[in-house]
Amino acid sequence: MTNLFEAIKKIADQNPEGFTVQLPDLSWVTSGYISAYKETQNCFGDEGLTKALEHALSHNNIVGGWKNEDNKMFYFDSSKTFDSLDEAIKFGLENEQIAIFDLNTFREIKL
């Protein structure tokens, strides 16, 4: 967990625009429809990363983040990918998301 925490912090520092990686190998997630879990909304800083990481490890092993340029804080989340658009939309709505993202075509799907 400590190693993953440090490794993800490093990825975050190198990718302030954002990143989404699969655990534990830290490979980039590049396909499917992706939606975040509501439990990891507003997770920021070290505490936020710990929460998102713990959630990801006990759910779908996907963690990501981006730097908020307004307050310069890093925000983290735990996410899930889907092959089916219908399932992704259902999950997104259940998790109170305003949109999901299609990683195959780089298209935002507003909910």
């Binding site: 954002g18 989404t20 993202f101 990683l103 298209r107």
Partner: protein
């Protein structure tokens, strides 16, 4: 989002635009900037940078994604005009002699044609193409921009007159 202050929108709608941009930036390295808004149209620059997925959208796709972000947020009677800038990989640094040879083949060019096109001596060119002389930065740039020029010229000529052979340039 850059230039968002130019839009006469509620804070809630501006937040929605910002959230969209965060997703596009995070997942696709796609960025938006509102260039101007005059009540008739909103002009948005959209561009993509290199991204970990190595997927790049065309100008048409960038326009489509921009309209997807702004429609439903800006008033329906406001025309959304886009200025797309697709990502162009900088392949200058990675150009090899093999790449050069493939491109020359593609254009049907022989070493003697290059001698004429580039005004360089035949022996120097032979050394480079046979990889007995290392490809210098200057030579790499020379080949890179020659191929770029040939590609653009070829496409233009091909489009207008149906010419399909690079010897038309020599």
């Amino acid at each position: 989002m850059k230039g968002i202050e130019k839009l006469n929108l509620s804070n809630d709608k501006k937040k929605l635009l910002d959230k969209s941009e965060i997703s596009f930036k995070r997942f696709a390295r796609i960025y938006f900037e509102v260039l101007r808004c005059n009540g008739i149209e909103v002009v948005v620059k959209v561009w993509q940078l290199d991204n970990p997925a190595k997927k790049y959208l065309s100008a048409k796709e960038l326009i489509d994604r921009t309209k997807g972000v702004f429609s439903g947020i800006v008033p329906d009677d406001l025309k959304i005009n886009c200025r797309p800038v697709p990502y162009e990989p900088n392949d200058l640094r990675s150009l090899t002699i093999d790449d050069v040879k493939k491109d020359l083949d593609h254009f049907g060019l022989k070493p003697k044609d290059l001698v004429k096109l580039l005004d360089i001596d035949k022996s120097s060119l032979s050394l480079i193409l046979s990889e007995n002389r290392e490809l210098s930065k200057a030579n790499r740039a020379m080949f890179y921009y020659l191929i770029k020029y040939l590609t653009v010229s070829f496409n233009e000529k091909h489009a207008f007159s149906g010419l399909n052979h690079a010897h038309n340039f020599i």
